[in-house]
Symmetry: C3
Subunit: 331 residues, 3 copies
């Protein structure tokens, strides 16, 4: 974003204002995990925890009263759009939901994405944008005069997902440094795995990558980790990592990635999380999944207290509450 | 639903808490008309009347401040979804509307309905769910940890429609016992007729069923009524019941139900409500319809003060306000 | 609309009540620009300016607390529906958004538009309606019991667009009388041009019409202007009017209007607004556009402070806030 004209409620004490300048998120766009320092992450997680307490006690509050969010989804994603809508409403802000049908509307028909953003920003104080084209959200943010939060741009970034993943690890296990994190599934194309890996590389962690041979972590990411001195290992069976993992981060393996279906059926069981497998895991560890799942984690695992994937969903709402408050200067 | 983790505002006086336990709706799912005792119905109608008075005076209130509803429609129904949205908003609650496009979204693509519910409940305190498959809403409620209100599951149940129908009878005529209720139209497939009939069978009413021969009330329902000793009669002409009916409950007859269109044209006039027909009706009676109508009631009947079908729509909002407040413990 | 039954908050001082009766908008439908006197326009613009100040200071307020708007779009228009939603929410009112999928729903399937309106008005205090058929909104308003605001009925009217256009002229230039307004583009089919022209004909303005020969202003409109003694001229090149124009109102020329594409390419440059062209314009003038644009105004013009088209969008929100408050009696 460039500059802000209509922003009503900025009315903070000087120490709060200073904190905002220090955390550096006020009126910033949220575009990529690479923009966050460790201090930013500490600050966001602190706020997300406060949001969690507020929601448990009161459900909603008035922190963002007077502010309006335009929630603009050029492709549907009920999980993410609902999370942002709930986040803004719980903070007392208003929402303009533009989550369906935008592709049939004059806003997009023939009109450039930039013009659509320059139009919608006239009604609101912050825009959440999901768009199928990689790079499109960053481009929109370059022209817009209100902060833009990237809710996914195709194969590009989905920073709030990575933040909620990392927040979940810290909230569930009390720390990030010193943990062994195993990533399981499609590590080649999985956007969430790539983003979380980048965030984790700022910490003192050990990483285990479990995937079929054709779906291994991309070379550039692996080299980045090695350059940073992160302890990494790759394997093709979740059985190899289950005993020592503090975090098992499971993702979908799409059948379509296999030219030979027999091969898919052969390797599939190496990545399935079952109650039997969980018996070998530590007592204090968590299983995560960005969802939706389609068979990677057996339903009977849900009852296991270590199954953290639905709590992970709720953490997404708290992270988004923290980000909305931060970019709007209500630290 | 099973158990509730994040529920902020339960903060009642002991006599209120007792009332809730007695009325038995707090944190309960609303799945079927068969779950309601006569005492439940009395309580719901009492509350719906209070809601009506509140809305007339103030429009909105803060009873459900701090609560969030996810309104999830897997098939569109503007009338029902709008009614629930208006109900929640008038009570000061927040709404996450998921009324369109869910079928194209990752929440449903490949994902089980149960997982979608376990995801969305992380953002909200109560879910209203409409789904085309019979039994799906009850199944979802079995796994969810927040109350689920059935807004229609295909040919299955649509309990809030039946409640608003019965509430309309009581509100308009001051009582239910002693009334003669005539059901007109497609009594074989009409979900609303079946549900209302079940509710009415708890009262001392006379029932008249008016339908083409091929669209008569199902045998099991008829036998249930006879077993309960309800005064019932069947006929094929509305002219036979118009003079004595206190309630004329009209439903659509779908042309498609007839293999022989000549037969449809022949019987059609036996079920049409016209101003001429209304001249034969009592001065104090009401005409109801679950809507939408497509010709069963002539537009010129709308001006008749006995035409209650649009007031019936508004009663639906009040019933839904009463139910939302009850399941969330704000009795 | 005919008469109002459930309207909670009418609780004004006598001088306010008198003002409302004088301005004459309380409980009125907003259907056409032709319904407004110059006094109405003065009143609406005064209120829109107050709304602008309120929004800049507080973002939202409680003026319409207790009121609910049903925002019903039978064809998508993100710009207009978002504007009305933001307007109602900034005034503290509730919104039932029915902006997508209504065509697949039982509300419209087989059901008449009138019945849909008579249904939805049971939930709300005011309806904003967009419908593709000319005359449909006025017809709906004839039967509805709550005020209906026309948000566009096909080739018919779109009165709030014309109001925001005129308001923008007054707000940007401080007056309307005495101005030279040039309309550019498709003047034959352009609904916004026709409506704005009608409104401007109440003032002491000079009008310049710039269009290809086949897309000139319709005869009846031109004759109306001449009858009223308005100073008018027509031309086919924007270069002819740029030096003296106080307002340059640009609209899209659709390629499809030309049978001979060579002709389109030939005339196109006569209507394009470029930085070079703007060098010839006055220092104090504005460029307007109803948006979306598809090339009529070069993106590099956006930086020019005389480019008013995005401010024009925001003025639409303020005009709609003023109208919602006026028809609901919160003057």
């Amino acid at each position: 974003m460039t500059a802000k004209t209509m922003n009503p409620l900025f009315n903070l004490e000087s120490h709060q204002r200073r904190a905002l300048i220090e955390n550096g998120l006020y009126l910033k766009d949220i575009l990529s995990v690479e923009q966050f320092t460790k201090e930013d992450l500490d600050y966001i997680f602190l706020r997300a925890n406060e949001m969690s307490e507020m929601a448990a006690r009161w459900g909603t509050c008035d922190l963002l009263k007077g502010y309006t969010l335009a929630c603009v989804f050029y492709e549907p994603s009920t999980r993410t759009s609902s999370s942002f809508i709930a986040a803004m409403e719980r903070l007392g802000g208003k929402v303009i939901p533009i989550t369906e049908g935008i592709q049939y509307s004059s806003v997009s028909k023939g009109e450039s994405l930039i013009d659509s953003m320059l139009t919608l920003e006239q009604y609101c104080d912050v825009i959440v944008l999901r768009h199928p084209e990689i790079g499109s959200v960053a481009k929109a943010a370059k022209y817009a005069h209100v902060p833009i939060i990237n809710a996914g741009d195709g194969a590009g970034e989905h920073p709030t997902q990575a933040l909620l993943d990392l927040f979940t690890i810290q909230k569930e296990l009390g720390k990030i440094d010193g943990l062994k994190v195993a990533m399981v599934g499609d590590l080649r194309y999985g956007r969430t795995v790539h983003s979380l890996t980048k965030l984790l590389s700022q910490y003192d962690v050990s990483l285990r990558f479990v995937s079929p041979d054709t779906l291994r972590l991309p070379l550039d990411l692996m080299n980045m980790l090695i350059d940073k001195g992160i302890n990494v290992r790759e394997t093709s069976k979740v059985q190899d990592v289950i005993e020592n993992a503090d975090v098992l981060y499971v993702t979908r393996i799409q059948k379509e990635r296999f030219t030979d279906l027999a091969q898919y059926d052969e390797v599939k069981s190496f990545f399935e999380i079952t109650p039997e497998l969980m018996e070998k895991a530590k007592q204090k560890m968590i299983v995560m999944h960005p969802l939706p799942r389609v068979g990677e984690i057996h339903y009977s695992v849900d009852k296991d207290p270590r199954a953290a994937y639905f709590r992970q969903v709720q953490n997404g709402m708290f992270i988004r509450m923290a980000l909305l408050a931060a970019v709007l200067g209500q630290a």
